[in-house]
């Protein structure tokens, strides 16, 4: 490691709590988001959407005289639907039409697009479009999607399943040794991601470059470019994607949308700028669906709490289509590979089904499958602990992978790189004061408010690359991540990266990394990102990969640039370039120094002063980066929460919340805290509030934020974050991906705390969100059981 040793803490480089460079514009309301873009002559788009979940589309009739204001599938010549196949054996392929053809498969599927000077006028026009349907029964329940009586969504399939997977590693042998067997049915609700800003696109045809420029609120501009070029039948050179400031993504903004393809086609067709700004109703009911899992999980344990084997059948409600680029089976395939969590076990069996239903496609949301998996595994572990009369911390201690075993290859061949999981547990137990809490819980055990304590512990694979993803065969496999570092003539530094920063604070943290290599003040570093015209190709911002991959690439490019600066500086200082040190904006050798600004000016404007052996590639370097091994960094965390459950109201109050988190080397601890807190708030939403229900006709029942409940500031307790810092041996500075971690642990920890509170009553909750209604139903069902017993 090149950063300063602990006795002289760095102020601007790796490890510095540097204030975020992007905050000045955000806090003053000066960000430029997709809806802030106004182009001359721009038209607004509004979509006519299906009112039915499953129906044959008999006809779509445009209003008379609509001319070039209304378009249907018949108009979209040369446009292909969206297809994202997995290479896994048995995957059934779907094509998501840009505008519906012949059939609609979920409520809100676009049938036609209307254009007008304003969105309101476009919606007026949309009301005049008439469509005829022949309704079909809807597949609304993922547990019944495979019934042979159910209608087929995709009629060339033989069942409503995108993909079925099965894995069995020594299951029978391990399970046979079990002293206890505990089985549960567990479920997580369908959710919406709900970034503050929804999706949006402004498309314009550039006549000079003969290029379609698509401004899109996206977190993966290069992948959107590839997807758009494919759907529109264009060369990549004819498509440029630009992400402006983006107000949160969480996975939704990595997806290629039919609406984006439509906007691109319209801009070319009309030779006029067009835009679509998703509204919250579209967002909730059509766009951003995620998370819906069901687990039948059985744990096999020895009498001392040793976890011998896990058996699981998991169903993921994948919705109607396979989304580009992550496909319809990312969630379920992940379930099978990460369910064993941070624990040792001897046997493991898991079958998964990615089922097709008449709902919007399910998309990867922060944490992807991990939130559901952590919920399932940590709940079953507590159930085993209750069965064995063990403390929840004791059963975890018994089974966690230890630091002595690191690096550890687990039962699904996940390579944990480093860490001390038992220590994270120990610190969480100490911080939440388990002993003190148990005393208080005992004292207050007879009231109408019951106290409970819950734990969850998990690890998060991040920044995993080629070797992991090529096996899944989805349209996108990450390889080397590239970055460009370029010195400007005044000694400033420009960094160009293909990832996109929309809350990750990369404008700050990548500048800190460049400072490590070049000594250039982060205030003089400009990050260029989100524009395919200016940045190296990248799969983008997802999978907790940026700080490892883009960070590593920026370090590599900055190091190359630093070498070239030293060559010129050595010449100017009459010193051996090898002896030149870059610090605080200067190149120093012996007792003399020259400013980096002077070095830059020499290369660009006074070449007569350059040494003969100067590198002709100049003060601009592009480098590619991969981790030492691309199996991913494994950050991990232990969440500990105490709750009070009101038995009359079903209301859960979070009393205290502790997160012990190991992000490896922290580039900027404030940014790590921000990521963890933001994620935890979303995880609390999953645990307590967020639910996107559908009725038996496939109609979405939460179409506004009055019905879809997000956590608000007053719902989030003062979460205490304790850091551990075990460097990853795989990454440039020892940093680990941490972006999703906070969102993974809360549903498991909170549900475990509620079950701890209700255990004396013989009541267990098995489904999130734990709304008052759901908790009350569980309590009253328990009462009924007690009354009958």
């Amino acid at each position: 490691m090149t950063h300063a040793p602990a006795d002289s803490p760095p102020k601007r480089g790796v490890g510095a709590r540097l204030a975020r460079r992007e905050d000045d514009r955000y806090l003053r309301g000066r960000g430029r988001f997709i809806a802030d873009i106004r182009l001359p002559g721009m038209l607004d788009m509004a979509f006519v959407r299906s009112p039915h979940a499953h129906a044959r589309l008999l006809s779509v009739t445009k209003p008379e005289g609509a001319g070039e204001q209304v378009f249907t599938a018949a108009d979209l010549t040369g446009v292909s639907g969206i297809r994202a196949d997995s290479g896994l054996p048995g995957f059934r392929s779907s094509v998501q039409p840009i505008l519906a053809v012949d059939k609609v498969r979920h409520v809100g599927e676009p049938l036609a697009v209307c254009l007008a000077e304003t969105r309101a006028a476009a919606e007026d026009l949309a009301e005049l479009v008439e469509a005829e349907f022949e309704e079909l029964p809807a597949v609304h329940d993922m547990l019944r999607a495979r019934d042979p009586q159910m209608p087929l969504l995709h009629e060339h399939w033989d069942e409503n399943v995108f993909l079925e997977t099965a894995v069995d590693t020594g299951f029978d042998q391990a399970a046979a040794k079990a002293a206890v067997t505990v089985k549960r049915s567990l479920r997580t609700a369908r959710q919406c991601m709900a970034p503050i800003e929804g999706r949006g696109v402004v498309a314009v045809w550039d006549r000079n470059l003969e290029q379609l420029t698509v401004h899109s609120a996206t977190q993966m501009p290069h992948i959107v470019r590839t997807g758009l070029a494919g759907c529109l039948g264009l060369d990549h050179g004819q498509v440029r994607v630009v992400a402006p400031d983006v107000g949160g993504g969480f996975g939704y903004k990595g997806i290629l949308l039919a609406e984006e393809v439509c906007a691109g086609w319209l801009a070319m067709k009309l030779d006029r700028p067009v835009r679509w700004i998703e509204d919250r109703r579209e967002h909730l009911t059509v766009g951003a669906n995620c998370r819906e899992h069901a687990y039948e999980i059985t744990a096999y344990a020895a009498a001392d709490g040793e976890l011998l084997a896990i058996d699981c059948e998991a169903i993921v409600d994948s919705g109607a289509y396979s989304s580009y680029p992550f496909s319809a089976c990312l969630e379920a395939a992940q379930v099978a590979s990460i369910l064993p969590g941070p624990y040792r076990m001897q046997g493991y069996r898991c079958r998964t089904w990615s089922v097709a239903t008449n709902k919007p496609p399910i998309l990867p949301f922060r944490g992807v499958a991990r939130t559901g998996v952590c919920f399932a595994l940590e709940l079953i572990l507590d159930a085993v602990a209750r069965e064995l009369k063990m403390a929840p911390e004791a059963i975890r201690r018994r089974n966690l992978v230890t630091p002595e075993e690191m690096p550890f290859s687990n039962i699904t061949k996940k390579d944990f790189d480093s860490g001390d999981y038992p220590e994270a547990l120990r610190r969480a137990v100490e911080a939440i004061d388990v002993a003190g809490f148990r005393e208080r819980q005992q004292r207050e055990q007879s009231g109408r408010k019951r106290l409970g304590l819950g734990l969850s512990i998990f690890c998060e694979q991040g920044a995993h690359g080629t070797s992991v993803y090529h096996g899944w065969g989805i349209p996108m496999v990450p390889g080397f991540e590239q970055a460009t570092a370029r010195l400007t003539p005044d000694g400033g530094l420009e960094l160009r990266v293909g990832v996109q920063s929309h809350g990750q604070s990369l404008e700050t943290t990548l500048a800190q990394i460049a400072y490590e290599e070049t000594g250039i003040d982060p205030a003089k570093v400009k990050l260029v990102h989100g524009d395919t015209a200016y940045t190296p190709y990248s799969t983008g911002t997802w999978g907790s990969r940026c700080i490892v991959m883009a960070g590593g690439a920026v370090a590599a490019a900055s190091a190359t640039l630093a070498g070239r600066i030293k060559t010129i500086a050595g010449h100017l200082l009459q010193a051996d370039p090898e002896s030149v040190v870059l610090a605080d904006g200067e190149a120093r050798a012996g007792g003399s120094a020259v400013s980096i600004e002077e070095v830059a000016r020499t290369w660009y404007l006074k070449p007569q002063l350059l040494p003969d052996d100067v590198d002709p590639r100049g003060l601009e370097a592009t480098e590619g980066y991969k981790t030492v091994k691309d199996t991913g960094t494994f950050s991990y965390a232990c969440h500990a929460v105490t709750v009070s459950v009101d038995l009359d109201l079903g209301h859960i109050e979070l009393l205290d919340y502790v997160i012990v988190e190991d992000a490896g080397t922290m580039i900027n601890p404030m940014v790590v805290d921000g990521q963890v807190l933001g994620g935890a708030a979303q995880g609390i939403g999953t645990a307590l509030y967020e639910e996107m229900p559908f009725d038996s006709a496939g109609q979405p029942l939460a179409s506004t934020l009055a019905d879809y409940h997000l956590p608000v500031a007053a719902d989030i307790p003062a979460i205490r974050i304790l850091h551990m810092e075990t460097p990853s041996p795989l990454s440039r500075f020892g940093q680990k991906g941490i972006g999703e971690s906070g969102a993974i642990g809360p549903p498991a920890a909170i549900a475990n705390a509620v079950n701890d509170a209700l255990a004396p009553l013989g009541i267990e909750v098995t489904e999130v969100p734990l709304t008052p209604e759901r908790v009350l139903r569980a309590i009253h069902a328990g009462d009924v059981k007690e009354a009958q017993a």
Binding site: A120, E127, L649, Y689, V712, A714, P772, R777, D783
Partner: protein
Amino acid sequence: MKPAPFDYAVAGDLSDVTSQLAQAAGDTKPVAGNQSLGPMMNLRLARPGRLIDITSLAPLRAVEDTPDFVRLGAAITHAEIEDGEVADPTSGWLRAAAAGIAYRAVRNRGTLGGSLCHADPAADWVIVMTGLCATALVAGPEGERRLALEDFITGPFKTALHAGEILTAVEVPRPGAGARWGYWKFAPQVGEFAKASATVLIDEARGRLRCAIGALGRRPLILDSAQSLIDGSLAPAEALRAALPDRASESLALHAAALQRALDLALETETPPG
């Protein structure tokens, strides 16, 4: 979504509004704070052809403070009540209720009368004004009439207003010496409508005892067993089971808990001065 096209006019005077409403046969709607109608229009679930803005009509902005009651104009905002900018005959009960409505942005624009006319069963004023034995003052083409709040609200999102009528004011009786009050609602998140709510008024000096339950998906339920509930001889769960025999047990338990907590609050409240 954006609203369908509509016309907008600012009302001149009260008779102008009532005659326009009577003539327009439902296509014209009076609007004040627009905190309920506005979102429904944006979703195109409500599509009036014309809005008449009544927020600045003098009688709707008036406050009359008398020894027996305070009359609050229908266009008084929640925030004005919360901030004590208008008289509160209950020495703080109204202010406290107003402060718990939705969140401040809604309170800044939303009005007392608008909330009552919208008649959401879970709304604060619907249950609070019923619980306080308030009276609705209504004006229409046929003149003025007075209705007890429990007669004004006739069902979920339904009122006794006839075509052409608007609510002009609400009369809140001044409680007698030693009166006690409890209002309790269960809204798990800030800004949410209540999942359960109840009020208890114990005003022996004026002969008013009232226990009312809100958020039932219907108009507020006024329990005829207030005396037994207050003296403790009848449990809330029993009273509710008798009044709502068709409800599921968890629903009854929830509303009974709300009533119990309102009773607890009432029995521990300080006597308002004067």
